[in-house]
């Protein structure tokens, strides 16, 4: 952190978020066509990615032990996590393997601030995140009146904690896998996009009924189960264990530690070899 105080860096982070929010709005407002294309395509994409499960839930009046509206909540929760990722970790921060694989991490290294701060601020793009966040919030709002839940302040607090934990898990997962691009820039350049695709496609699947090995691997190895299924089981009282609310936050801590170690090791490797390739393509997009 150098010779500057923590308070300085916190203030600095807020100023950066403001700058990135403005830049993000400028990108989308470049032209009416661009604006329409992004908003429409992102909305279509987000609706399409959950539509399959939604239609199945409608057709079969729920899925397994999940009622139709519980599935709706699950889909909404997953979309909000997706929306938070897009809002806070866009510009190829979540797709970190692209930055590393394309040699664009050098740009981060010549910024006079801690790398962590760069990564936590540079991806802030609220304008682009909204088309993902809003449908997710809408689904939750639609589902809640049909669910027999006591929506106390405590529940909302746990909802928030789990939401942040789920987002942290997705980010950690992306960084853990993406760090492979430090070592194999070409081969791993699109690894983050594969892992994100996996999460986007599978985030809303109820994992009940899976075998122990498969369910375990989808929670502990490829944590798609933590994106929505595990926290929603607790929030919707499908899981009766009192500790269930804390599974996802605990997993988030574990994944964050793991991702930090992986990224740190990758960074040490990068110090030795640097980037042997560079591409302007998709720069910061």
């Amino acid at each position: 952190m150098g010779d500057k105080s923590l308070l300085h860096w916190i203030r600095h982070a807020f100023r950066l978020w403001a700058v990135y929010a403005r830049m993000d709005a400028l990108v989308i407002m470049r032209s009416l066509g661009t604006m329409a294309t992004w908003i429409i395509s992102d909305t279509v994409l987000n609706v399409a990615s959950i539509m399959g499960m939604l239609l199945l839930a409608q057709r079969f009046d729920g899925i397994g032990m999940w009622s139709k509206y519980q599935v709706l909540f699950l889909l909404g929760y997953g979309s909000v996590v997706d929306g938070l990722m897009t809002t806070f970790f866009g510009y190829n921060v979540a797709f970190i393997s692209r930055r590393l694989g394309r040699g664009q991490f050098d740009h981060t290294l010549i910024q006079p601030q801690p790398i962590l701060l760069s990564l936590m601020t540079e991806g802030f793009n609220p304008t682009f995140g909204l088309p993902t966040l809003i449908p997710g919030i809408a689904l939750i709002v639609l589902a809640l009146p049909h669910l027999a839940l006591s929506l106390s302040a405590g529940w909302w607090l746990l909802f928030g904690v789990n939401l942040i934990a789920s987002t942290a898990i997705v980010l950690a997962f992306q960084f853990a896998w993406g760090s492979l691009a430090f070592r194999a820039p070409r081969a791993a350049e699109e690894l983050s996009s594969s892992s994100m695709q996996l999460i986007v496609q599978l985030k809303a699947f109820p994992l009940d009924g899976l075998g122990g090995l498969l369910a375990g691997s989808l929670i502990f190895a490829l944590p798609v189960g933590c994106v929505a299924w595990l926290p929603c089981r607790a929030l919707l009282s499908i899981s009766k264990e009192s500790f269930a609310f804390w599974y996802t936050p605990l997993m988030a801590i574990g994944f964050t530690v793991f991702a930090t170690v992986m990224f740190w090791k990758g960074l040490k490797h990068y110090e030795r070899v640097g980037a042997q390739r560079y591409s302007n393509f998709g720069f910061r997009n």
């Binding site: 294309t37 992004w38 395509s41 992102d42 279509v44 994409l45 399409a48 990615s49 539509m51 399959g52 239609l55 199945l56 409608q58 057709r59 079969f60 899925i63 397994g64 896998w177 492979l180 070592r183 194999a184 070409r186 081969a187 791993a188 690894l191 594969s194 892992s195 695709q197 996996l198 496609q201 599978l202 699947f205 109820p206 994992l207 009940d208 009924g209 899976l210 075998g211 498969l214 691997s217 989808l218 490829l222 591409s279 393509f281 998709g282 997009n285």
Partner: protein, 262 residues
């Protein structure tokens, strides 16, 4: 003959190009396997003990999902043509004595061939261990499936050619375009869910769209739930129509094609 040799050499280069990297493509295979395994469990969760629903038993649905994953690369038909234009790498391709689309198609053939051997075949072989029947409904269905698969590639490449042309003509960002196309394509093609399971009569409507020819038609023929001649005729119609429209579009947008991606 020379053109064919060039096509196959390009395909071979693309196939060996997959191996030229570190073995990270295996990670993608793992992800694909997990995805299909999750679908198997989902169907078992939904359809267990329910008998046939809209003509589909649990066993047929599992086979449908399996074959969809086994043939995924063929059914998706993604040549990444528009990416080549966006990142400018297409410029050198103009200097090669082969059509632009043919070059992308050749590369697609090579990588698909590789993934079919390295992922699809092993998946097909191990699924009986997971209690899934990989065989077609009957030998005739298997034969018609093979023909329909060829038509599916015809339709798929036509759609690819057309959509890339649209992306270039409208100067759409390929990232948005790809994600949107991927999500919509999976739903509308029937690769994700058999149309028979869709509510509100959506399945019947989707069956008439060109996307259906990409996945739903060959897959439903494979499991023996389709009127094969009618659907294959529809595939042929869409294939021819798409190619005509796409060729027209590309010819009209030649200048934009060159400028796409700056």
């Amino acid at each position: 003959m020379r053109i064919l040799r060039g096509y196959f050499k390009t395909a071979a280069m693309a196939a060996s190009g997959v191996l030229g990297d570190d073995p990270l493509f295996l990670v993608n295979y793992l992800m694909r396997f997990l995805r299909v395994a999750l679908f198997f469990s989902l169907w078992r969760l939904i359809l267990h003990g329910k008998g046939a629903i809209a003509g589909y038993t649990l066993e047929m649905t599992l086979t449908y999902t399996l074959i969809s994953e086994v043939c995924r690369d063929l059914l998706e038909c993604r040549t990444w043509l528009e990416m080549g234009f966006w990142d400018g790498s297409v410029s050198t391709r103009f200097l090669r004595p082969m059509g632009i689309f043919a070059q992308f198609a050749a590369e697609w053939t090579g990588s698909v061939a590789f993934h079919l051997v390295a992922f699809s075949l092993p998946l097909l072989l191990i699924t009986p261990l997971l209690g899934i029947n990989p065989l077609p409904a009957n030998p005739q269905a298997g034969l018609l499936f093979a023909l329909s698969l060829v038509l599916a590639v015809f339709v798929g490449l036509g759609l690819e050619y057309l959509f890339s042309g649209i992306a270039i003509a409208l100067r759409l960002h390929p990232y948005v375009f790809n994600r949107m196309r991927g999500a919509l394509g999976e739903l509308l093609s029937g690769a994700l869910l058999p149309f028979a399971f869709l509510p509100f009569g959506l399945g019947k409507a989707f069956a008439y769209l060109p996307f259906a020819g990409q996945a739903s038609t060959p897959l439903s023929i494979y499991v023996g739930s389709a009127d094969a001649p009618r659907l294959m005729a529809l595939q042929l119609f869409w294939g021819v129509t798409l190619w005509i429209i796409a060729t027209q579009l590309w010819n009209r947008n030649r200048e934009k094609v060159i400028a796409y991606g700056g």
